[in-house]
Amino acid sequence: MHSAPEPRAVFVTSQAVRLGCVAAFGIAALALLGWQLDLAFLRGPSPGAVPMNPLTAVCLVLLGASLWVLRAPSATDGRRRVARACAMTVVAVGGLKLLSVMSGIEMPLDQVLFHGRLQEMPVPSRMAPNTALVFVLLGLGHLTLDVKAWRGWPPAQILQLASLAMAVMALIGYVYGAPAMYGVGSFIPMAANTALAFSLLSVAALFSRPDRGLFRLLLSDSPGGALARRLLPAALVIPIALEWLQLVGQRAGFYGHEIGAALSALVTIAPLVGLIWLTARDLDATDRERHRAEEALKSSLVQVKCLVDSNIVGVITGDSQGWIHEANDAYLEMTGRTRADVPFRWDATRPAEQKERDKATLSELAERGLVRPHENLVVRKDGTRVPVLVGLAALPGDEGKFVAFVVDLSSRKRAEVELDRMRAFLDSILENLPDMMFVKDARELRFVRINRAAEELLDCRREDLLGKNDYDLFPREQADFFTAKDRAVLDSGALLDIPEEPISTKGKGLRLLHTKKVPIVDGQGEPLYLLGISQDITDERQAEAKIAALHEAVRSHADQLEVANKELEAFSYSVSHDLRAPLRHVDGFADLLRRHAGSTLDEKSSRYLDLISDSAKSMGALIDDLLIFSRMGRAEMQRTTVDLAELVAGVQQSLAPDTSGRAIEWHIARLPQVHGDPAMLKLVLTNLMANAIKYTKTRPVARIEIGADPSQTETTVFVRDNGVGFDMEYSHKLFGVFQRLHHQDEFEGTGIGLANVRRIIQRHGGRTWAEGRLDEGAAFYFSLPRSGDEVATTREAA
């Protein structure tokens, strides 16, 4: 099982390495200084003891410096080469020394330095054989620091452990006073400070690669690591220290050998038992903690399994070699496969053109340990493609294995397509609306959407408008107005209709808008947006103003007309009333005169009186006809269905007094019904028929013909006679007021009758005309427009 290095231990070891290097280096340097200055206490622990040989000191300096360089992974290659060269030199020195010892051939390398001083000494200082061996071991250890482990044992650590064992053995020998442990046979022994330097350097060398071999456990944060860290120093230090104390006490004679041994055992047992008990208690606590963590892990594994089995997302495990080892039902369904297909190659589910992308994905996975969810495609067994969202995570500990989570996006994609279609649909509606449309966000009232009509009206592109508010676009006063309305809509939540609001535009000046504003709310009724639709009613308003002006003009004309009519009425009223009175008086008093002086009047006077009366009467007739004529123009029309035949018969009867004693042939055709004012039409017929009677009085037999000719659109009625006729040259004068073609003494008349006919027929929407030849009779026509009812009736009759 993997365990991370314990951080505190790592710190301690790195400091220990530095300290070891510096201490070994320092001890050796001091020894050399001692040789140089001839200070014995620097060369060895005591003046009588064996001193450190100068060559040994040099080798130690080299090894210390070498380890200082090699311990740091950041050292440059050049320095490493130098450091290795130093280590190799030391190995060579040690090897030569050993060779010399074993072969018996004298090689006085250790006598080269400080040769004079060495010669002065009672016992010549040499390099001890065990020292030489430790140099070989340590040197080789330096050289093999980064060589890989063999069966879990890095060679460097084996070498360093061996050197440590020899150095510690020598140290213990010095402490206990047992020369056999620091000397070999009759050879000179290892110096005590050499042994100490060796011990420190060996430990430093061991600790320089704490992530390897034995030290991995020692430094790990696992319970084993903790146990090793706590018990190992105790196991090393306690026996040595207690044995030494016991030996010291025994030598001093405090107690005998037996008592000493017993004491030693007792004192050794107590701290060890305490230490073991404390450690066991800690281990127990750690184990419980671990157990709890395992339970938690197990439960979260169950949760993960639930997630996988729930099939909400597709889950697979696979490897970078292209295999899918496990897949849940969701994934199998997504890719159209079954459990029987597992395991299968995942690249079979990948589109061919995505190979490069897959490579990139795998390298990202290897590099970062995970691949963020991204959209992709999977190919089903039948070849169809499914859009998916994929996220990958590397499985820790298993090289190249990963777990992938796959979500089927096809329904979402379909929804997106539908959404796009809908959006395009709405866009095309909004963009083609002739009215300005805009949407503002509810919070800051900034434009988030406008349509083309808005761009045109405001004369600016939407890029320049979106994100802005009314204050960026309009004069302050208008912006205040718009904003107040917007807020009112958002607060009330109801549609607001603003029949007319002015707006300043860049290109078109001041425009008038009819605006409707309505809030767009979310599910809770909170307003999200404000939608506005504005219709440009400027032209409409201008047109309305024009129409109003026209109406005003028409009304004023009508008023003037009304005034004129009133005046005319007053005039004719006055004519009717006041003009007739004098005539009546003229005629009345003439008559009274005749009655009064009847017998005394001569013939001439009597005739004058008659002429006075006639003149008064004819003027009265003129006035009456004129009044009728004017009344015809003003009187209300009573439109109804009129039976022409009945009307003609009635007129015939009323004219009977004028026809007595005359020979008249009446030819009256079958006459239709017409639409019009009966009284007025009677006046028309009376006029025409009276004329016909009047102008045929010179004929022995008068012939008067009345007929009608109904066409699609109008009914034409004529009255024809065989009377004196008229010259067509003057026909345009026939229907004028006071226009006469005959002299008063030939045919009496006021000259108003036909004018009246024309006025009445015109008021009916018809026409009048006449045909005639002098002395060959005349025909007078009038037409009346037909209403739809009459047309239908005529068709049925036909």
Binding site: S576, H577, A581, R584, G588, K617
Partner: protein, 152 residues
Amino acid sequence: MKPGLKRVLYAEDSAKDVELTLAALEQHRVANEVVVARDGVEAWDYLCCRGAYADRAKGNPALVLLDLKMPKMDGLEVLRRMRADETMRSIPVVILTSSREERDVIESYSLGVNAYVVKPVQFDQFIDAVANLGLFWAVLNEPPPGSVRRAA
């Protein structure tokens, strides 16, 4: 002369018309039973026995002839007042006028006139019309109670 009670009240501003009308009425000898008012106000004073007629004998005329167009107060106004007055409501009123205007005719009848006579221009016709009027209203017609009766 103290204005006495006459059977016919004739309101007419034109002196010539008065003379012609009286000449016509003379034929039936009712002329001396006619009192002439020269305008509407005078006619109304007579009817109400006030002003110049404050001292006249009490009683309503049997017939009132009214010209339409008169100074101060026109004939229609006199007619309107008469028809609004309890005691004069039932007096027969004949409009005697030159106007053939339809609106005059309609308004007169709507105010409750008993007859509307247009004065003809021809004198003989005028005489006939006035004479017939006098004959009918002043002689043949039984006036409402309180009116002046023809002297036996």
